[in-house]
C-alpha cells in the first residue's frame, strides 16, 4: 500500500490556493488544503476540495483521434500518425495561404511552460502572431 500527498496548485480560479493531491496506490483519491500556504492556509472552496474528482473520469481522452473526412466519425490513431497529420496539414496550409491563415488558442488552464511553447511554435515556426487565449472571456 502506497499513500502520499503531492503539493500542487489549484486549477480553478485565479487565487492559486495550495493543495495536496492524495495519492493511494496510483489513484488520486482526494485533496487536502495546504496549511501554512500564504493564500489559503488550510482552507479551500468546494471546487478546490473536489479538484481531484474529474481526473479519473471515464470520459478522459487517452488516445489521439483523427477524423478522416468532415462530418465523418473520429477514429483512434497513434501519436505518430496524429502528429504527422497535424504537422503536414498545418505546413501545407501555411505554404498555400501564408502563416496568418493559421491561428492558435493557448490556454489559461495550461502551465506557463506550455503557453510559452505554443506561442513559440506559432511565432517561430509558423510565423504568425495569431496566438491568444481566453483572457477576455
Amino acid at each position: 500500500m502506497e499513500y502520499r500527498n503531492v503539493l500542487t496548485t489549484c486549477i480553478y480560479c485565479g487565487v492559486g490556493c495550495g493543495l495536496y493531491l492524495q495519492v493511494l496506490d496510483g489513484q488520486v483519491v482526494g485533496t487536502w488544503p495546504a496549511k501554512g500556504h500564504p493564500l489559503n492556509d488550510g482552507r479551500l472552496c468546494v471546487k478546490g476540495w473536489y479538484a481531484h474528482s474529474f481526473i479519473h473520469h471515464p470520459e478522459r481522452l487517452t488516445t489521439p483521434l483523427i477524423r478522416d473526412q468532415k462530418g465523418g466519425p473520429l477514429r483512434q490513431a497513434s501519436w505518430e500518425e496524429a502528429l504527422d497529420r497535424v504537422a503536414q496539414r498545418l505546413m501545407a496550409i501555411r505554404e498555400t495561404h501564408g502563416p496568418d491563415a493559421i491561428a492558435f488558442m493557448a490556454s489559461a488552464k495550461c502551465t506557463n511552460e506550455e503557453n510559452y511553447l505554443l506561442q513559440k511554435l506559432a511565432r517561430s515556426i509558423i510565423g504568425t502572431h495569431n496566438v491568444d487565449h481566453c483572457a477576455r472571456l
Binding site: Y3, P33, G36, H37
Partner: protein, 263 residues
C-alpha cells in the same frame, strides 16, 4: 532528545516490529507538513509533527482500501479519541491499528484552545493540562436572542465548501443529509439558515472530540467548535457521555441492540 526524534524512534520500532505494514504520520513539505504512510526501511528524517492533519480520517480510508492491512499511526489525544468513536461505529477496527501516543505541547494546546491535549497513554511528550476556550465562556454570557443573532451573522458568511464535513473524521456516512435537497436546498449561498449548520451540529453529538480540524478548514472563519463544545457539554450533563473517553462507553444516541450486534 528532541520530541520529534523520539517519535521517529518509536515509529521505527513499530515498523521494525513487523506488526504493521506502514505507519501514518506527517512528513515535512516546504514550510508545512502533509500526511504520509511510512514503510519499513523508509528514511524517517522528514517525519514531522505539525501542522496536524486529520489522520484518523485517512487511516479509515486506508484500512477500508485493503481489508487485510494493519497500520500504525502517530496519535495525539484528539486523534486517539476520534478513533475510539469511529471504532464504536464500526468504521475502524482497533485490532488492526497500532498507535504511537503523542502528548501535545503547551503551544499546540493553545493553538487549538484544547481542553484535553493528551492521549490515554503517552509514548512521547509530557502531559500538559487542557485549557478552556475563551470564546465559549463569552458565548455563554449571551442571551438566547443574541446567540441566534450571533450565529445568523456567522453562518451568513458560509460559502458551502463542505470543508467542515469533508475534513471531519466523524463524518463517514455514505449519503450525507447535507446533500439532500429536502433538508438543505442545493446550490444556494449562504446555505439556508439554520438547516445546514444545525444539522451538522446535531450530527456531531456524541462523536465530536474537539480536534479543531473543521474550524481550521473554514474559509468563512466560523467558530464552529464553540457550537460543538456547547453541545458536547450538554450531552455530558444530560447523559454523562464524553466522546472518546473509552471504547466501552455507549454513545447516548446509539440503540443498544444495534450496538451489541455490531450493525
Amino acid at each position: 532528545m528532541e520530541r520529534v526524534a523520539l517519535v521517529r524512534e518509536a515509529v521505527k520500532r513499530l515498523l521494525d516490529s513487523g506488526q504493521v505494514e506502514g505507519v501514518l504520520a506527517l512528513r515535512t513539505v516546504g514550510p508545512g507538513s502533509a500526511p504520509h504512510l511510512f514503510h519499513p526501511g523508509d528514511s524517517l528524517d522528514d517525519l514531522t509533527l505539525w501542522p496536524k492533519y486529520p489522520l484518523p480520517k485517512i487511516l479509515d480510508m486506508l484500512l477500508a482500501a485493503d481489508p487485510s492491512v494493519r497500520l500504525g499511526m502517530v496519535a495525539r489525544g484528539c486523534e486517539e479519541r476520534g478513533l475510539i468513536e469511529m471504532a464504536k461505529r464500526n468504521q475502524v477496527d482497533m485490532n488492526r491499528i497500532r498507535l504511537v501516543y503523542l502528548a501535545c505541547t503547551a503551544e499546540e494546546r493553545d493553538e487549538c484552545c484544547c481542553s484535553w491535549p493528551y492521549p490515554s497513554q503517552i509514548d512521547v511528550g509530557d502531559k500538559v493540562e487542557g485549557t478552556a476556550d475563551a470564546l465559549v465562556a463569552e458565548h455563554e454570557r449571551l442571551s438566547l436572542a443574541e446567540r441566534t443573532e450571533f450565529w445568523k451573522r456567522q453562518f451568513a458568511r458560509c460559502i458551502k465548501c463542505y470543508g467542515c464535513r469533508t475534513v471531519c473524521p466523524q463524518c463517514f456516512c455514505e449519503t450525507c443529509v447535507l446533500e439532500d435537497n429536502l433538508w438543505v436546498e442545493a446550490g444556494v449561498l449562504a446555505p439556508p439558515f439554520p438547516s445546514y449548520h444545525l444539522i451538522r451540529a446535531y450530527h456531531t453529538i456524541g462523536k465530536c472530540v474537539g480536534c479543531m480540524e473543521c474550524e481550521n478548514a473554514c474559509p468563512a472563519d466560523i467558530p464552529l467548535t464553540v457550537l460543538y463544545t456547547l453541545l458536547r457539554r450538554d450531552a455530558e450533563e444530560m447523559f454523562g457521555y464524553v466522546p472518546g473517553r473509552s471504547l466501552e462507553d455507549l454513545p447516548p444516541l446509539a440503540v443498544e441492540t444495534l450496538w451489541q450486534t455490531g450493525h
